[in-house]
C-alpha cells in the first residue's frame, strides 16, 4: 500500500479488529498492523478450547465483527472470517517499533525498518507486553525463541534456556526429558521461582538431568556452523567465558511492559505506578493529538468493551459524535434518581457536586459510574456497619449521612463529601457505622474501580490520603477535637511503605516517632544473644512506637513488617501538639500500653513461642484475616475436612490438607486466608472476586476463567476447575449405586467438558452459604482443624 493512510490501527486484538473492520466497512483508507503471524495474539494464547465469555452481559455489542460467548476456536474463526468479509487491510508480522510525528502526519516504523505514514493512529496493543530480548549481539538469530508452545516437539537437541523465573524453569524441565539442556541464571539461586518449581529445578540440577550456569550472563550469540549446529552462545561465567554450540536458545526473561513502548510514542502516564493508565479524552484520544488508545491498554480489560471502543473511535475520528454503547446502561442506572435529567447532564452534575470527582476526566468518570451503584437509603438506614468487611467507596450526591465513628463522636457529612475511604485504603473492617439522613442519594463505587482511579489520578490519591490521615488521627487519638484543628497535625504526618520483612524501627534507635499501622501488620522483636525473637504481632489499626515517645527514650524493640505494610508516622513534636490539644489522650494511651505489656508478658518472649510466631509470619499469615490451621498432634489424617469441603462445594475441594508447612505440629495447609488486601482481586477482568461484610473473599459466577487470580494469589489456593454435575443423594447411592458416593469425586471423563462448559476459578468461600459455617472445621472428628483469625495467634503461640 502506498500513499497516506487515514487510520493506522496498531494491534489486531478485539479492539483493533473491530476498529479496522469498521473503517473498511466505511471505505476509509486504513491498515491493521499486527506484530505476530496471526490476529488476536492474546486470545490465540488462551488454552485450547477455552470458553470465551462475553461479559459484561448487559452491555450490547456494537461492531461489524461478531462476538458471542463460545469456544476460543469459534470466536477466532468468526473474526478471521469477518476480517476477510470486510476486506480489512491486515499486515501480519508487522511489529510497530516507533511512532513519530503529529496528527495528520504520523510516521510508523515497522520492525525497526520500514516506514509507513498515517493521519491517525489507533493503539490497541493490549497489555500482554512483548517478550524481553536478550539484549546482546546476535539476539535476532533464528534459533533464538522467546516462547515455547510444545516442549515435546524437540528431541535430542542441545538447548540453552536463559532465565530464572517459573516460565524458564518449567520449559527447562520439560525439555530436559528428551534434550541436553542448560539453564542460565544471572543470580546464584532461583529466588523468584514458586516453591514447587524451585524444588524441581534444584533436584533436576543435583540429579544431573540438566546443567545450570549460576551467576552467569549471556555475552553474545553467534550464527554459523558450530559442530553441525546452527550457532553458539557465549556465556560469561564466574570462572570465565564459556562457548556452547547449540541447536536452540530459549529466552524467558519476562515481558517488557507495553508502557515503555507507548511512552516512546509520546503518550504520557500520570505517574510511575505500574497500574497507572494513560489519560484519555471521552473520545479515547491521548495527549498526542490524533493518537487514540482503546482496549486493555486504555484500562478496559474485556473483549466486548474493546470491540465497542474500536467502533466508536473510528466514528470519532471521522468527526461523528455518537453516544457510547453503554448509554442505555447508564440511563437505566440513573432512572432511580429523583432528577429529570439526561445521562450526560447527570454525569456533569455529579462531577460538579462531588469535588473529589471534579478533576477526573469525563471518560474515566463515565467508566467509574458504569461500575458504581446509585443508592437511595431510607432515613436512618444503615449504609454499612462498624466491623463490616466491605470496602466500597461512597460519595454523597444529595442529602447527608451520620457517621458514628466512636462512642462520643458522631459526624454529620453532607453533599459532596465522601466516606468509606478507610476500608478502601487499608483493606480493614469498617471503623464506623454510617446511617443515612433524609433525601440521601449516594454513589457506591467498588474498590477496584476506585483503586484504578486512585492510581491514575494523583489529585484523588492526595485528597484520599489526607482525609484518611485526618480522620484516623481524630478517631484514634482526639475524638473531641474538631477536624479543622487537626489539619496541621495531619499535614505533618507521613505515610510510609514497607516491604515484607523490612524494619520499621530498630531496637536501640532513638525513639522519635509513633507509627499507626494503616495496612499490613508488624512483629515486635527483641534481641537475645544476638538473635531476634519476635514477641508480639500487631495488626493493622493499632500503633507501635508509643512507648518510646511517652518516655522519650530509645527503642526497646525492633519492629518489622510481616507483609507489605503501610504506616502513618507522627514525629514527637507533632505528637506533643496533639497531646496538648487532647489531654485525655495520654490517659487512654497509658491504658493501651498497659494492655500491650500484659500481652507481652503472656508471650514471655521465650524462644519457642517466638519461633512459632516467626513461622506463622513466614507463611504469610500477617495478612490473613481467617486461616485454617491444623494441629498435627490431633489430626488422624482421615481427610474428612477435604471431603467435607468438596462435598459442600460442587465436588472440588478448596483446601489441600497434605500441602503446606508444619512447625511444632502446627500445619498451615493450602487454603484461602481471606487476606486483608486480597492479591487475587487485583487483575480480575470482570471484577468477579468480592469480599462479603463478614470478611469472606469469594468468587462470583461471572468469572470468565482467565486464571489471573490463580496466578496472583501468592498462597496457591485458587484452582481452575469444571463444574461437576450434581451428585445423587446418599440413599440413591447406597441403594442403587447412583453416582459417586460421599467423599468420592466424579471421574475425569464423567465431568462434562464440552464447549459450553467453562473452567472457572474456585477457592474457599469460608462456606458463606452454609448456615453452620466452615464445613472443613465442623467435619473434623478430633478437633484438629480450626479457622483462626490473627487475634487468636497470640493465644495459639502462648498456649503451645
Amino acid at each position: 500500500m502506498s500513499g497516506k493512510i487515514k487510520i493506522a490501527v496498531v494491534g489486531s486484538g478485539p479492539g483493533g479488529i473491530s476498529a479496522a473492520a469498521h473503517a473498511a466497512e466505511l471505505g476509509v483508507p486504513h491498515v491493521l498492523l499486527e506484530a505476530t503471524a496471526k490476529h488476536s495474539d492474546t486470545i490465540q494464547k488462551y488454552q485450547k478450547g477455552k470458553h470465551v465469555m462475553a461479559e459484561p452481559n448487559v452491555l450490547p455489542l456494537r461492531s461489524p465483527v461478531p462476538f458471542e460467548q463460545g469456544s476460543r476456536e469459534a470466536v477466532l474463526d468468526a473474526w478471521e472470517h469477518s476480517l476477510g468479509q470486510h476486506s480489512v487491510n491486515v499486515r501480519y508480522q508487522a511489529r510497530v517499533t516507533a511512532i513519530e510525528g503529529s496528527k495528520g502526519n504520523f510516521t510508523l516504523t515497522i520492525n525497526d525498518g520500514e516506514k509507513l505514514e498515517a493521519e491517525h493512529v489507533i493503539l490497541g496493543i493490549g497489555v500482554q507486553g512483548n517478550p524481553r530480548k536478550l539484549g546482546v549481539d546476535g539476539d535476532d538469530a533464528t534459533f533464538i525463541q522467546y516462547q515455547l508452545d510444545d516442549p515435546d516437539e524437540f528431541r535430542n537437541e542441545t538447548i540453552v534456556v536463559v532465565g530464572a523465573g517459573d516460565a524458564a524453569i518449567e520449559n527447562a524441565l520439560a525439555l530436559a526429558r528428551h534434550n541436553r539442556v542448560y539453564i542460565v541464571n544471572r543470580r546464584d539461586e532461583f529466588a523468584r521461582a514458586k516453591e514447587g518449581n524451585l524444588g524441581a529445578i534444584t533436584a533436576a540440577i543435583a540429579g544431573g538431568d540438566l546443567q545450570c550456569f549460576y551467576s552467569t550472563n549471556v555475552v553474545r550469540v553467534d550464527t554459523g556452523d558450530f559442530d553441525d549446529k546452527p550457532g553458539q552462545i557465549v556465556l560469561g561465567t564466574p570462572s570465565g567465558e564459556v562457548q556452547l554450540a547449540v541447536d536452540r536458545v530459549i529466552a524467558r526473561l519476562g515481558a517488557v511492559p507495553q508502557r515503555k513502548l507507548v511512552e516512546s510514542f509520546g503518550v504520557e502516564f500520570p505517574n510511575e505506578d505500574p497500574s497507572a493508565l494513560p489519560v484519555l479524552t471521552t473520545k479515547y484520544e491521548s495527549n498526542v493529538a490524533g493518537m487514540y488508545i482503546i482496549g486493555a491498554l486504555g484500562g478496559y480489560p474485556l473483549i466486548k468493551q474493546a470491540m465497542n471502543q474500536g467502533y466508536e473511535v473510528v466514528e470519532y475520528i471521522l468527526g461523528n459524535s455518537i453516544k457510547p454503547a453503554d448509554h442505555p446502561l447508564l440511563e437505566q442506572k440513573f432512572a432511580v434518581m429523583p432528577y429529570a435529567l439526561e445521562v450526560d447532564e447527570v454525569l456533569e452534575l455529579m462531577q460538579e457536586r462531588v469535588p473529589i470527582f471534579s478533576r477526573v476526566n469525563p471518560l474515566v468518570f463515565r467508566e467509574l459510574m458504569l461500575d458504581s451503584n446509585i443508592l437511595m437509603p431510607e432515613p436512618g438506614e444503615v449504609v454499612f456497619a462498624k466491623n463490616d468487611y466491605t470496602n466500597t467507596f461512597f460519595t454523597i450526591l444529595d442529602g447527608s449521612v451520620e457517621i458514628e465513628a466512636g462512642p462520643d463522636l458522631t459526624i454529620k457529612s453532607g453533599q459532596g463529601n465522601f466516606f468509606g475511604e478507610m476500608s478502601l485504603l487499608s483493606g480493614r473492617r469498617r471503623s464506623a457505622t454510617v446511617r443515612a439522613g433524609t433525601f440521601c442519594v449516594l454513589i457506591e463505587t467498588p474498590r477496584r474501580t476506585m483503586n484504578k482511579l486512585v492510581n491514575s489520578v494523583d489529585a484523588v490519591k492526595r485528597v484520599l490520603d489526607e482525609t484518611f490521615i485526618l480522620r484516623t488521627i481524630q478517631q484514634r487519638f482526639a475524638p473531641s477535637v474538631p477536624l479543622e484543628d487537626l489539619r496541621p497535625i495531619a499535614k505533618a504526618a507521613k505515610i510510609n511503605h514497607y516491604k515484607p520483612g523490612e524494619v520499621v524501627f530498630q531496637e536501640g534507635d532513638r525513639a522519635d516517632s509513633l507509627h499507626l499501622i494503616r495496612s499490613g501488620s508488624v512483629t515486635v522483636a527483641k534481641s537475645f544473644d544476638s538473635r531476634e525473637i519476635p514477641m508480639a504481632y500487631v495488626a493493622a489499626g493499632n500503633y507501635v512506637g508509643e512507648m518510646g515517645l511517652l518516655g522519650n527514650s530509645d527503642r526497646s524493640a525492633t519492629v518489622r513488617a510481616t507483609v507489605k505494610t503501610e504506616t502513618i508516622s507522627l514525629d514527637s513534636g507533632t505528637f506533643l501538639d496533639l497531646l496538648q490539644k487532647s489531654p485525655e489522650l495520654l490517659e487512654s494511651m497509658r491504658d493501651e500500653v498497659k494492655q500491650r505489656t500484659q500481652q507481652n508478658v503472656r508471650l514471655q518472649a521465650d524462644a519457642a513461642s517466638g519461633d512459632m510466631l516467626s513461622f506463622l509470619m513466614q507463611q504469610g499469615l500477617g495478612e490473613a484475616t481467617d486461616v485454617l490451621l491444623i494441629d498435627k498432634a490431633l489430626c488422624v489424617g482421615c481427610d474428612n475436612c477435604e471431603v467435607a469441603c468438596a462435598e459442600t462445594h460442587g465436588g472440588t475441594s478448596r483446601l489441600n490438607r497434605k500441602a503446606g508447612a508444619v512447625f511444632a505440629h502446627i500445619h498451615v495447609p493450602t487454603s484461602c486466608r481471606h487476606c486483608e488486601d486480597p492479591h487475587c482481586m487485583k487483575d480480575c477482568p470482570p471484577d468477579a472476586i468480592k469480599r462479603s461484610p463478614g470478611g469472606e473473599v469469594f468468587i462470583q459466577d461471572n468469572c470468565i476463567g482467565c486464571g489471573n487470580c490463580e496466578e496472583n494469589c501468592p498462597y496457591g489456593v485458587i484452582h481452575m476447575a469444571y463444574k461437576p454435575p450434581k451428585k445423587p443423594g446418599i440413599w440413591s447411592w447406597l441403594l442403587f449405586g447412583a453416582g459417586p458416593g460421599p467423599g468420592q469425586a466424579y471421574g475425569k471423563e464423567e465431568v462434562p467438558q464440552g464447549p459450553d462448559e467453562q473452567k472457572m476459578a474456585v477457592k474457599c468461600d469460608m462456606c458463606l452459604d452454609l448456615a453452620g459455617g466452615p464445613a472443613c472445621v465442623r467435619a473434623c472428628p478430633t478437633g484438629a482443624a480450626l479457622r483462626l483469625s490473627p487475634e487468636d495467634f497470640v493465644d495459639l503461640v502462648s498456649t503451645r
Binding site: K632, N640, A644, G772, A775, R778, A779, C780, P781, G783
Partner: protein, 289 residues
C-alpha cells in the same frame, strides 16, 4: 486453643455419661421389684430402651459424619458424645440384663456390643497417641515427599555405582528394584520389610533394612585399593544408608496410618452385627413373651 474430642467443652459428655451411669446404678440398687432383676422388669425395659436407642444413635454417627452441610453440632462434638455415651452402655446394658447371661441371642447382642465398645477404646487410644508420632516421624513431610526423596537418592546411587563394574551395578540395581514397602495388612501393621536383592553368586536373598546390600558395598570398600573406586563406594554406602533410614520412616508412616485405621474395620462391621443381633433380641423377647 486446640482441644481434643476427649476434652471437648470441658469433657461435657463425660459428665453427662457419668450422671447417666450413676443414676442407673442408683435406681438399680434402690428399686424394689417383685421379680428378680432383669430385662423383664419395668427398670429392665427402661434401661433396655435407653440402651437400644443409644446404640442406634451411635451407629448413626457414620451417617452424620458424612452429612457435611449439617448444622447439627460439629463432628467433633458428636465424636466426643459418641465415645462417652458409648462407654456408658457397659453399665446401662449390664444393668438391663440384670447380670443374667447365658448362651442365647440376648447375650450374643451383649457380647457384640462389648466388642464394639472395646474396639472403640482402642480407637480412642490410637487417636490420642498416634497423630503426634506420625507428625514427628515424617517431620511434616507427606509420604509422597518421602518417596520423591527416595527416587532422588536412587538416581544418585545409580550414578555412583555405574562406575563400579557390572556386578556391583546389577546387585545394587536389583536392591533398588526389589525394595518393598508395605504389602499385606500384616506387613503394613508390623512395618515388615520384604525387600530382596540379587546377590552376586547367591541369587535372590532377603534384603531386610537394606543391610545385605550395604554390607556388600562396605565389604568392597574395605577391599579396594583404588582411590577413585573407594570414593564411589563410600558415597554409595552413605546414600544407601540414608535411603534405608528414609525407607524406615516410610514404613513407620504406613504402620501408624494403618493402626489409626485398622480398628474401624472391626468397629463398624461389629456395630452393624450388634444392631442386627439387637433386633433379633427384641423380636425374640416379644415373640416368646
Amino acid at each position: 486453643m486446640y482441644q481434643s474430642f476427649i476434652s471437648y467443652r470441658g469433657g461435657r459428655w463425660f459428665w453427662i455419661s457419668l450422671v447417666l451411669c450413676i443414676g442407673a446404678i442408683g435406681v438399680y440398687a434402690w428399686h424394689d421389684l417383685p421379680q428378680p432383676p432383669g430385662g423383664g422388669t419395668w427398670l429392665g425395659y427402661t434401661l433396655g430402651t435407653i440402651g437400644a436407642l443409644l446404640i442406634l444413635w451411635l451407629t448413626y454417627l457414620g451417617r452424620r459424619k458424612r452429612n457435611y452441610a449439617s448444622k447439627l453440632g460439629t463432628v467433633q462434638g458428636w465424636t466426643s458424645a459418641h465415645v462417652y455415651l458409648g462407654s456408658s452402655l457397659i453399665v446401662i446394658a449390664t444393668l438391663h440384663a440384670g447380670f443374667q447371661f447365658g448362651w442365647n441371642v440376648h447375650t450374643l447382642a451383649y457380647v457384640l456390643m462389648l466388642l464394639v465398645i472395646f474396639s472403640g477404646f482402642f480407637g480412642v487410644w490410637a487417636y490420642l497417641r498416634y497423630p503426634e508420632m506420625l507428625s514427628d516421624n515424617t517431620g511434616g513431610k507427606t509420604r509422597g515427599d518421602l518417596y520423591r526423596e527416595v527416587a532422588e537418592i536412587d538416581k544418585q546411587i545409580m550414578r555412583q555405582v555405574a562406575q563400579l563394574g557390572s556386578d556391583m551395578e546389577t546387585a545394587v540395581a536389583s536392591a533398588l528394584d526389589r525394595t518393598v514397602v508395605g504389602g499385606g495388612v500384616i506387613a503394613q501393621l508390623t512395618a515388615r520389610d520384604d525387600s530382596q536383592v540379587m546377590m552376586p553368586g547367591q541369587g535372590l536373598v532377603a534384603n531386610v533394612r537394606q543391610k545385605p546390600i550395604l554390607d556388600l558395598v562396605v565389604e568392597q570398600l574395605s577391599q579396594t585399593s583404588h582411590r577413585e573406586q573407594a570414593s564411589y563406594l563410600r558415597e554409595a554406602s552413605n546414600l544407601l544408608g540414608a535411603r534405608g533410614r528414609l525407607l524406615d520412616r516410610i514404613r513407620r508412616d504406613v504402620q501408624i496410618q494403618g493402626l489409626l485405621r485398622i480398628w474401624l474395620y472391626f468397629h463398624v462391621p461389629l456395630a452393624f452385627a450388634c444392631v442386627a443381633a439387637l433386633i433379633v433380641h427384641v423380636f425374640a423377647v416379644f415373640v416368646y413373651w
